[in-house]
Amino acid sequence: MHNSGSLQPACFRISAIVGILILNAPRVAGEDSGYATVSRILAQHCLECHGPDASQREAELQLHLAESSTMPLESGQTAIVPGHPDQSELITRVTAVDDSRMPPEKSGRALNDSEVELLRNWIANGADFEQHWTQISNPTTDPPSVKDSSRVQQTLDRFIIAQHEAHSLPPFETADRVTLIRRVWFDLAGLPPTPERVAAFVNDESPDAFANVVDELLASPLYGQRWGRHWMDVVRYGDSNGSDENHAYPLAWHYRNYIIDALNDDLPFDQFVREQLAGDLLTDKEKRPTSVTGTGFLAIGTKILAERDPVKKQADIVDEQIDTIGKALLGFTISCARCHDHKFDPIPTADYYALAGILHSTTQSTVEVPLPDFEQETKRIRTLLDEIKAEQKRLNNQLQKTPGAVIEREAEDFDRANVPRILDGYGKGIGIISDPGGQKNFVEWDFEIPQAGEYLIYLRYAAEASRPGVLSLNGNVVRNDAVSKITGGWYPTHQQWFQESKTAFRAGRNTLKFTCEPTMSHIDRLRLVRVSKDNARMLARVEQLDRQQKQLEKQMPAPMKVMGVGDRSPMNAKIYLRGSHLDPGREIPRGFPWVAAPGRSPAPIPTDTASSTSGRLQLAQWITAPQAGAGHQLARVIVNRVWQWHFGRGIVTTPNNFGLQGALPTHPDLLNWLATEFIRDRWSLKNLHRRILLSSTWQQASVTRIGRQGRPELFYGFQRRRLEAEAIRDTLLFHAGRLDTNPAKSIGGVKSQDPTPEDLQRNEDVHRHSEKRSVFLPVVRSNTYRFFSLFDFPNANTSVGRRGTTTIPTQALLMMNDPFVMDQAQHLAKRVLSSSDKETMVRNTWLRLFSRAPTKKESKEAALFLRKYSNTIGSENTEEQAFIALCHSLILSSEFIHVE
C-alpha cells in the first residue's frame, strides 16, 4: 500500500484514503442502516485477515472496501455479489460446514445465525457500503423539527425530543426543584448544596432562578476543581512514574493546577489543547505565561524508567504519548498501529510513525515558567542591586584614592605557604591558591602597616562547598570560621569578596595567616581597609550596602519550575517492524494521523530534519483546526465527553474510541451540531455547560426517583448516578465541616519509590488525615489511596474515558469500618447535635445529607434506632454515641452515594 519512503505524507495518505472513500455517496450511518451493523460483524470476524492490515491480508481480499469485495478474486469467486447473497462467496464460506468455513474454526470467531442473516439481508439489499460516520468530512446537520415544541428549552432538545416522538414516547416529567439543585451542585461543583441554598432556590420564583444557580456555580472555583478532575482522568494524571520503580514526579502538580485554572478561566478548549501539545512553542501572540505548563500533558505519563534498553525505553515513552493523544484528543486508538496497520480503522502504521517522529523530536524536561510576577520582582530587585553595586564601586574607588586607606595584594604572592599557585583552570587569568589535596594547608602574607589602627580584612575567593579555616594575625586567632562561604562554584566567575574580620594591626610588619585542612577554597586576593575618622562614614555606608545587598539577594524569587517538554534535534522515525525496535524499517516523514481529518490536507511539517522544529507546533495547530485539520473531530470528542459527564452516558458510549470497534453515536446529528456550535462559540466549555444544563433534556426527572421506565440510549428520563470516589470523600468532609478547597502547592508528603509498609501507611495517613479537596491529593501510581481505588478511581496508567461503577463488598467494608468515614460521621453528628430536640436533630441531619426532610416513617425508624443503639452502650454519652452511629448509618445509605 505504501511503497516508497520518498513520498510526502500527503501522497501515501491518498492511497489510504482510497481505502475508505467507497463507491456510494457519503451518508451518515444512522440507526436503520444495515451497514453500520454489518461493518461491525465484518470487523469482528473477518477484517483481521481480510482488512486494512496489509501484512496479515489473505487472498488479497479487503472486506471493508466495496471494490475489493465485489471483484472476482484470484480463485474466480466473488466475495460479495450485490443483490445475490447466494452467489456471494462470503455467505457460502461463513455457512460452510467443511474445512472451507470462514473464519477458520481455530479462531473461535464463527458467525452465529443471526449475524449470517444480517449479512445476507444486507447483500440482498444491494450491499451498500457506507462511510464510517467519523470519516464524513463535512457533516451538515440542522436541528430537526418536533411536533411539541413547548418542551424545547434549548435547540439541542429538538434532537432528543424528535427521537422520543419517533418512538412515540410521551413527554417525560421534569425533575422537582430539590432534585435539580442537588443534581446541578454535584454535577458542576462535586458537592451538595447547603440546606440554605436549597431553600433559596426552591423559593426563588424568578424565571432565571436555575440559570442563576448555573452561572453562580460556573463562576465558582469549585467548578474547575470538579471538572479539572474529569480531564485528569482523560490525560491519565499521576504524581509518580508508576510501573516499575515509581519515582515521584515532584512538579506534576503544576500541571494539575494549570488544568483547574484553565477550566475556571474558561480558556478556549482549542487553545487549551494547543498549550498541552506545544505550550512551549506557541507564537508570542497566543502564548500565556503558563502555556508551557500545559505540556505536562506529554510529560506525566508512566514510563519504565529502569528499562535498560534506551531505544526500547524511548519507543515506549513515545508509544504512551501517542496512545494518549489518540484516545484523549482524537478518539482513536492510534497506538494499535505500532505493530501493524490498524485492523479496523484506516490508520496505517506509517501514520503512527509519522506522529512518532514528532514525539521522538521532543524531549522531556523541567521547564522554568516566566510568570509575570516573577519577572517583575526579579527586575525590581536587579535594579536595586545594580544601584547598590554602582555605589559600592564608587565608594571603593574613593577609598582606593585615600592614601593609606586600602592595601591590596594577590593571594598567590604569599610570603610562606605549603599550597600551590594555580594559574590555569580554577585560576585562569587571575591566579589563585588552593590545597594540593588533603593536608594541613597554611599560607602567610606579610603586610607593612604604616600606622597602627583598625583594619577590615577582606578575602576574595570561590567555593562550591564550604571549606572554612582559621585566620590569625601575628599569631592571634581573629576568626575560626574564615573563608566559609559558598559562592556557587570553583571558577574565576564565582569569585566574590567577603569581609572576614575587623582587627587592630600594629605599625610595621604584620603577618596574616590562614590555615585549613584537608581542603581549601580558591583564594584570589586580599584587601585591608583602614578604619579611620576620615573614612568611617564611608565604611559604615559600605557595610550598610553589604547588608542591603544580602537582604535583596535573599528576596530574589525562585522561578516556577514545571514538568514539561521541549524540542530537540528533529528526526524522522523509522517503522519498527511488528513493533520491534530491533527491526527498523523505512523512515517516515513526520506527519499527522489523517484518520482524524478525512479529506483534509495537513499543513506540511518541514521534512528536512536539519530544520529547527519537531513539528509539535504544527501538530497542535492541525489538531485544533476545524477546516484544515482535525478540529471537528477534536470538538466531537470533547463535546461527547462533556455530554457524558453531565448525563452519565455519552452520545458515543466509548468516548476514547470513535473507530469501527467503538460504539456508534446514538444521535450523530446532535453530536455534529453540538461540535459545530461549540467551535462557533469559540470553544467555550462554560457556554457548552449552559446549553446542556438549561436544556429540558438534562432537567428531566430521575427514572428511578419517579419509578418510570426510561430509555437511556434515547436520553429519555435521567439516569441515577453513583458519586465518584472524590465526590464521596469531599462530601463527607463537607458535611463534617472540614473540607479545604484551597489549591495544594506541592506533591504533599507521600513516598512512591521503594516504599516500606510504614511508608505506605504514611501515604495512606497523608490522605486519610488530609482535609484537602480530593483533586489536590497526590495520585501515587500503583499505590492509589485505597478509598479511591475501591470506588473505581481510574488507574492513572492510561487515558480513561469512562469510569466503572462497581458495587463490591470491600466498599461496604470500607464504609462500615474505615476510621476516616467514622470520623466524618462523628464531626457531622457534633455539628448537628447542638440543635435542640432529637426530632429537630434528625430533621437537620436529613436536610444536610439529603437536601430534604425525613418522612414520618423515616423519623420513626431513626428514633427507634437511636433508642436501640443507646441500649447497647453502658457508659455515658450514650445519646451522642447513638447519634454518631445514626449519622454513620445514613452515610452508608444508598441515598447518600447517589445523585438522582
Binding site: 510501573s243 516499575d244 519504565i304 528499562e307 494499535c336 470497534q661 511508608d759 458495587t807 447497647t872
Partner: protein
C-alpha cells in the same frame, strides 16, 4: 458490538458487577468450597473451555531472581571453564557489568527416583523431587526487575495489563463466595507493586486482594491482615442495628429497586466476611505437628511457613489463585534473591527460609488430596548470569532473563520431569524455549482455559494474557 461469546459474557458480567454481589454472589449460605452451578454473580464458578487438570493455583514468587545454575540447572562445562571468558556473544542489553564465567560453588546430586538434579542448597525438597516438573528453558522477561516482574505477572513489561491471577479469576470465577477469588499473601510494593496483582481493565472484582499491606520489604506474615475487616468502635450487634436501619430506609424509599437491593446485599456480604476471613486465617486451628512440619517453630522458616500454611488454608476453601511472595530484603542485597554480590550467603539464607515450608506445603497438599487439582508454581522474574558480576565484595551474579528455571508441581503436570534446556553454560535457553507467553498459555491450559479464547475487549481489541503469542508446552502435561 463484540463477538458473540464476548458480548454475552461481558455484558452479563458488567451488569452483575454493577449490580454488586462482590466477592462472590448470592451464596450466603455456604462458607466452604462449593462447586456452584447455582451460584450467580461475577465470581460464580465458570465452566472452563475444556477439561481442566487443575482447579486452582498457588504461585510461590521468588522476588529478585534465583540463580538457576546454583539451584536446579547444573552445568558441568561451566564448572570446567570457571574464570574463562564467555565463548560467545552475551546479551545485547545488560543490567550491570559482567565478568567471566563463574562456576557454581555448590555440588549437585540426583534426587528422587527420577534423579532430578538439585544443588546441595536443598535439604528438604529432594523428598518431593518426583512431584516436580522443571522448566529449564524459561526466557524473555526483561533485564530489569520492574519490567521482568510485570512481564512475569501480566505478560507485558510496559503497558498496564491484567495479571495472571486476575485473568484466572475472570475466566473461572471462584468456588467460595465468601472469600476473594484471588489472594496475594504478603506482596511487595516494588517493581510494579499492585499492578502485579491488579486487574487493569478487567472488572475490579478480579483484583488480587492483598493479605498484608504491600510494602518494601513486604509485611511480615504474622502481621498481615485484610483491609477494613475490623471495626475499631462498634460491636457486631451495633453494626447489625446499622444494617437493619439501612434495610428499613431502603424499604421506605427504594423498595423494588434491584440495583439498590444489590447494594444492600453487598453490605450483608461484607458483614459475613468479617467472620469468614479471620476463620480462614486462623492457623491456631492447625495441629502442632502440622505447624512444626512447615517450620513455624523456627525463626528462620516461620515467616514463609506461615505464608505457605495460609496458602493451603485458602486453597482448601476454594480460593482460585493464591500468590505467596518470598520478598523480604537481605542486609547486603535489596531484594530477597537479588544476589549481585554475596551469592553464597544470600542464596543459602533464601533456600533455608523456604526449603522446609515448600516441601511441607507439597506433602500436606498431597496428603489432603489437594495436590491433584492444585497447580503449584515456583519461580522468580529471571535467573542469574552464569558469569560473575564485576564489583567489590563477595561474588554475585547479574540479572538473567535469557534462560532460567521455573518449576511446577501437581495439577496434572509430569512429576520428576525436566523440560527444555539452556546451553552448556546455562546462558541462553536452547531446547524447547519457554517464553513468558508460553508459560502463561500453559498455565491457562492446565486450568482448562484456551489462552487464545480468554479475552477481554479493550481499546478496540480483544486483549488476552498472551497478547498475540504463546504456545502450550504440552510435553509437560501428564
Amino acid at each position: 458490538m463484540w463477538n458473540n461469546r464476548g458480548s454475552a459474557q461481558v455484558s452479563r458480567r458488567h451488569t452483575l458487577s454493577s449490580m454488586c454481589l462482590g466477592f462472590g454472589g448470592l451464596a450466603f449460605q455456604s462458607l466452604l468450597a462449593q462447586e456452584a452451578s447455582s451460584v450467580q454473580g461475577p465470581l460464580a464458578a465458570q465452566q472452563p473451555h475444556f477439561a481442566a487438570r487443575a482447579k486452582r493455583v498457588i504461585f510461590l514468587f521468588m522476588h529478585g531472581g534465583p540463580s538457576h545454575v546454583d539451584t536446579f540447572d547444573p552445568k558441568p562445562q561451566l564448572q570446567k571453564d570457571d574464570g574463562k571468558k564467555l565463548p560467545f556473544e552475551g546479551s545485547r542489553v545488560v543490567f550491570a557489568n559482567r565478568g567471566n564465567l563463574k562456576a557454581s560453588p555448590w555440588k549437585f546430586r540426583p534426587c528422587g527416583e527420577a534423579g532430578l538434579p538439585m544443588s546441595q542448597l536443598w535439604q528438604h525438597l529432594p523428598a518431593v523431587a518426583d512431584d516436580l516438573c522443571m522448566i529449564h528453558s524459561m526466557c524473555e522477561t526483561n533485564v530489569a526487575h520492574g519490567g521482568a516482574c510485570m512481564k512475569l505477572h501480566t505478560g507485558d513489561e510496559a503497558q498496564l495489563r491484567p495479571c495472571m491471577g486476575s485473568w484466572v479469576s475472570y475466566g473461572l470465577g471462584t468456588e467460595n463466595q465468601n472469600l476473594p477469588s484471588f489472594i496475594t499473601i504478603c506482596p511487595t510494593s516494588l517493581h510494579g507493586g499492585i499492578d502485579n496483582f491488579g486487574p487493569a481493565f478487567l472488572p475490579a472484582i478480579h483484583a488480587g486482594v492483598p493479605l498484608g499491606t504491600p510494602g518494601y520489604p513486604n509485611t511480615p506474615a504474622k502481621d498481615a491482615t485484610f483491609d477494613f475487616l475490623k471495626n475499631s468502635g462498634r460491636t457486631r450487634l451495633q453494626q447489625r442495628l446499622q444494617l437493619d436501619l439501612l434495610r428499613q430506609l431502603h424499604q421506605s424509599r427504594g423498595a423494588g429497586d434491584t440495583e439498590l437491593e444489590a447494594r444492600l446485599q453487598s453490605f450483608e456480604l461484607a458483614f459475613r466476611m468479617q467472620t469468614a476471613a479471620p476463620e480462614a486465617m486462623d492457623i491456631s486451628a492447625e495441629s502442632r505437628a502440622t505447624q512444626q512440619k512447615y517450620g513455624l517453630d523456627q525463626p528462620e522458616t516461620q515467616n514463609f511457613a506461615r505464608e505457605c500454611l495460609l496458602a493451603r488454608r485458602f486453597a482448601e476453601r476454594g480460593v482460585r489463585f493464591i500468590q505467596v511472595s518470598h520478598a523480604h530484603s537481605l542486609p547486603f542485597n535489596n531484594e530477597q534473591w537479588d544476589q549481585h554480590s554475596h551469592l553464597v550467603r544470600g542464596h543459602s539464607i533464601n533456600v533455608r527460609q523456604i526449603d522446609q515450608p515448600i516441601t511441607a506445603l507439597l506433602t500436606d497438599l498431597k496428603e489432603r488430596g489437594l495436590l491433584d487439582d492444585t497447580l503449584v508454581i515456583w519461580g522468580g522474574e529471571f535467573g542469574r548470569t552464569p558469569t560473575v558480576q564485576s564489583g567489590k565484595g563477595e561474588f554475585g551474579r547479574d540479572h538473567h532473563p535469557e534462560g532460567f528455571t521455573i518449576w511446577m508441581a501437581g495439577g496434572g503436570v509430569k512429576g520428576g520431569f525436566r523440560y527444555g534446556s539452556t546451553d552448556e553454560y546455562g546462558y541462553y535457553a536452547t531446547e524447547n524455549r519457554c517464553t513468558i507467553h508460553d508459560f502463561h498459555a500453559t498455565l491457562l491450559h492446565i486450568l482448562g482455559l484456551d489462552h487464545t479464547r480468554l479475552t477481554y475487549p479493550q481499546s478496540g481489541r480483544d486483549i488476552r494474557l498472551t497478547d498475540v503469542f504463546g504456545n502450550v508446552a504440552t510435553d509437560i502435561l501428564a
